[in-house]
């Protein structure tokens, strides 16, 4: 059992745990909420974001500087993960990080659809994931969606996007293409790990299934909330365990029925706080944040039970993403002139 086959779990999880300790906590967020963008970026310069803030400090300022520093730090930290890991562990991490490929592809797709400025699309990309920046540039440079899909042929999204394109041509809606991307991502994630019997991998698979389940529930809730008539089957991502497409479709007409379904499912207990919030405030955003917090908590628990597995790494990836989202929410909220209390409601703090 050489480390090149099974992976160097000890090394990677030690580094990841150390990095985890440097993430911002409640205290920092509370400080940020009371600072202006300039002060936040100065504070960031003294912590893990030093390199990025210095690099972009001359070119951008205020909220833009924070945004660039966040995105680039995220990318470089995740690149580090891939650089450190070997063997099986590398495979797991790189498959999970394809999340950012799917994010980038979706962002560019929307940009092209909305005929957005090239510069603005570029700003929203997160340079983590497998696609190199040259390739992303090529994608941004395409003129229409057909050219875009053709360029992606041969990548993991190629086949599914080809099918989605036909549907798009009939309906003119991006939904089919975006779904194709999401489904592709989760399928490649689950495909290879279903056969393994290692308990930590089995639990990791459970975690991925929970993630898919939550995504499906969120999609269903959003559709129900917007009152549109799109059938859930079009959005449904396969691989979840608890909520089948039919189950979601039948309960979607009525919010109470939906809440009952969630409560009776396997996740009922963990989600009780989230459900209460949803019933009280009817706010989808806080429900979504609760879902994210529950996922993170689950992954954290797994990483304590199986310290030498993929779980600590995924827990780090999730909490890093949360940090980026939180800091961005604070900076953007400040820019829009929201009050500290309102901003605090937007944060995911676990």
């Amino acid at each position: 059992m050489s480390s090149s086959e099974t992976g160097n779990y000890e090394y990677v999880s030690a580094r990841v745990r150390s990095r985890r300790a440097y993430l911002y906590g409640d205290e920092e967020y509370r400080k940020f909420v009371r600072m202006g963008p300039g002060e936040i970026s100065r504070y960031m310069e003294e912590t893990t974001y030093a390199r990025e803030v210095n690099e972009f400090g001359a070119r951008y300022k205020g909220v833009d500087l924070i945004e660039y520093a966040l995105n680039h730090n995220l990318a470089s930290q995740f690149e580090d993960l891939l650089r450190w890991s070997e063997g099986e562990l590398y495979e797991h991490i790189s498959r999970y990080l394809k999340k950012f490929d799917s994010w980038n592809v979706k962002t560019i797709l929307r940009g092209i659809y909305a005929k957005e400025d090239v510069e603005r699309i570029r700003d929203d990309l997160i340079p983590a994931g497998e696609f190199k920046s040259d390739f992303l540039e090529q994608l941004i440079g395409t003129n229409d969606i057909e050219e875009f899909v053709n360029l992606l042929e041969g990548t993991m999204f190629g086949e599914a996007l080809g099918k989605g394109l036909r549907e798009y041509e009939d309906t003119g809606l991006l939904v089919s293409l975006e779904n194709a991307i999401d489904r592709c991502y989760y399928q490649q994630l689950l495909k290879k790990i279903e056969v393994v019997e290692d308990p930590s991998v089995v639990l990791y698979t459970d975690f991925l299934r929970a993630e898919i389940d939550f995504k499906n529930v969120m999609n269903a809730l959003r559709i129900a909330h917007s009152g549109s008539e799109i059938p859930i089957a079009e959005y449904y991502i396969h691989g979840g365990k608890q909520f089948t497409s039919a189950k979601l479709a039948s309960s979607m007409k009525n919010l109470d029925e939906m809440i009952n379904m969630i409560r009776e499912s396997k996740y009922g207990e963990q989600l009780s706080r989230a459900i209460e919030k949803l019933e009280d405030t009817d706010s989808l955003i806080s429900f979504e944040h609760e879902l994210e917090a529950v996922l993170l908590e689950y992954c954290d628990r797994l990483s304590h039970v199986y310290p030498l597995s993929i779980c600590p790494v995924i827990a780090f990836v999730l909490s890093k993403e949360k940090e980026i989202e939180n800091v961005r929410a604070i900076a953007r909220g400040k820019e829009a002139g929201l009050s500290p209390d309102e901003i605090e409601k937007q944060l995911v703090i676990s």
Partner: protein, 90 residues
Amino acid sequence: MLEIILDLLANNAVLLQEHVSTDVAAFPPKAAAALGVGLAALGAGIAERGIGAAAVGAIAEDREFFGIGLVMTVLPETLVILALVVIFLV
């Protein structure tokens, strides 16, 4: 390699039976003790592999871990020192 060792043991067992009357052990005591120390060192090495990897990871993130990392890494080494006592006992 395991086969060779097993082979050796099997042959020695035969030897052992042959020499029963003359009271000569199959392994000279010193040789057996040496083998014991070697096996203990092998075990310590296996234990240190994982700890060392984790310690280097932690030190790479923060140099302050150097001291504690070093102590943790050589902790299984006590196994070998204890095994070394056997050498002086036989």
